[in-house]
Amino acid sequence: MEPTKDELDAFIDVELSTADMQKIQAVLAQRSDLAAYVNQQTLLRARLSDAFAPLMAEAAPQRLRDAVMSAPVSVRYRIAEQLRAIVDNVRTARFVWRSLVPAAAALACGVLIGVRHEHGVQPDLQTLSSGQTVAEGALADALMNQLASAGAPASGPRIGVSFRNRSGEDCRSFTVPGRRASTAGVACRQGADWVVAALASAPGEAGGAYQRAGAEMPPLVRNAVNAMITGGAFDAATERAARDRGWKSQ
C-alpha cells in the first residue's frame, strides 16, 4: 500500500500509531524515492532545531524575567484567587458566609476579608455605608490601648498580634470572647477608625476548646494575618511605641 504524502509527513512528525509507523518504515525500506523524501525532511527538521539550539541554551534577558515577575496582574484574577482561597478556608474551617459581596468589595480595596459568624454574638462592630466594618466601644478601646505584651485581661476583648500591613497601616488581631462562640478578627488603623479586615467565629469559652487569645487564632484569621503582614509581628517595644503614637504609621 502506497502511503500518501500526508502520511509520510505524519511519519516524520511522529504523529502516527506505533503500528502505522512500523508499516511505513517497512515501505520505506523498499522505496528509495519515498525514503529520500523522508530523509530530506527529517534533516530539515534537525537543521531547524539546531539553528535555534544556542538560543535555547541562553538565559532569557533580565527585562523579560522582570516582566514575568512584576508586570501588572489582572485585578479580576487576583480577586477570584482571593475569593477562592477564602472559600477554601471557609470550607475547611466550616465557617458560614452571610455574604460574599462585602468580601469582594473589601478585596477590591486591598483589604482582605469581611466575614460574620452566625452565632448571634455581636461584638462592638459597625458597618459603615461605605461597606467597611469598623470597631467600636470596648473593642475599639482594646485595639487602641491594650498591649498584648502586658498579658490578656480577665474579660473583654483581647489583643493578639500587632503588625504593619502592605499598605503601611498598623493592624492588630483580636478576639472577643463569648460563651458559646468567640469572635476573632484583624483590624487595621485607617485614619481615626479600626477597619476590620477579617472576621471569623471561634469556639466559645464554654466549649473549652478556646484557650488563650492569640494562641489559637482561627485559620481564617491566621491566613489573613499571614497575607497582610510585612516585616513580622511587633515585639513588645514596637507595640508600645505604636500605641504611644496612636497607631499612626509614618
Binding site: 504524502k5 539553528a51 501588572p72 491566613n223
Partner: protein
C-alpha cells in the same frame, strides 16, 4: 494567598526560552522577538482571568504571541511597510568561535528561509517543526482545523527544502 500566582510566574519564566524561539522564528530578529515576548508576558498577566485553570499555560501564551504577531503584521501592512520577504538577520544566536560562526550561518540561512514563507506557514513550522508541538496542540494555538495545519506544513516543507537544500525531494 498568591501561591498559585507564584507558580504561574515560575511556569512563565520556564517558558521564556520556548517563547523566545517561537517569537524569533516569527519575526526573524532578536530585538523584535524579545519585544514580542515581553508584550506576550504583559498581555498574559493582564488577562490572567481569561486563562482557564487546568488548561495548558504554554498553548495559551503561544496563542497570545501568535495573535500579537499577526496584529503587528497587519499594522505594518496598513502602514505599507515591507512585511514578508526576507527577514532581517542582523544578529546571530551564538557569540564565539568557529561553531558560533557555523551556527550563525545556519541560523541566518534558516531565518531567511523562514522569512520567505507566508506568515501562516511560518507559524505552523515554528510550532511543529521547531517547537515540536503535536498537530493537535499547534492547531489549537493557531485556532485552525488540523487539516489546515497539515496542508500549511506540507507547503512550507517543500519551500524550505528548496531554500535549504536547493531542491525538494518528491514523495
Amino acid at each position: 494567598m498568591d501561591a498559585s500566582l507564584d507558580t504561574i510566574r515560575s511556569q512563565m519564566v520556564a517558558l521564556l526560552p520556548r517563547l523566545r524561539r517561537f517569537a524569533l522564528s516569527l519575526t526573524g530578529n532578536r530585538a523584535d522577538a524579545d519585544d514580542l515576548v515581553q508584550d506576550t508576558v504583559e498581555r498574559a498577566l493582564a488577562n490572567l482571568h481569561r486563562w482557564e485553570r487546568g488548561t495548558r499555560l504554554d498553548s495559551w501564551m503561544f496563542r497570545i504571541a501568535q495573535n500579537l504577531f499577526i496584529d503587528s503584521v497587519r499594522a505594518r501592512k496598513r502602514a505599507r511597510a515591507v512585511v514578508s520577504g526576507p527577514l532581517e538577520v542582523a544578529e546571530g544566536v551564538a557569540t564565539d568561535g568557529v561553531r558560533a560562526a557555523e551556527s550563525h550561518i545556519a541560523f541566518g540561512d534558516m531565518c531567511r528561509a523562514l522569512g520567505e514563507l507566508p506568515e501562516d506557514q511560518r507559524s505552523a513550522v515554528a510550532l511543529v517543526l521547531i517547537d515540536g508541538m503535536s498537530y493537535r496542540d499547534a492547531a489549537e494555538v493557531l485556532h485552525i482545523p488540523m487539516g489546515t495545519l497539515t496542508s500549511r506544513l506540507a507547503r512550507a516543507r517543500e519551500a524550505l527544502a528548496v531554500r535549504v537544500f536547493g531542491s525538494a525531494k518528491g514523495a
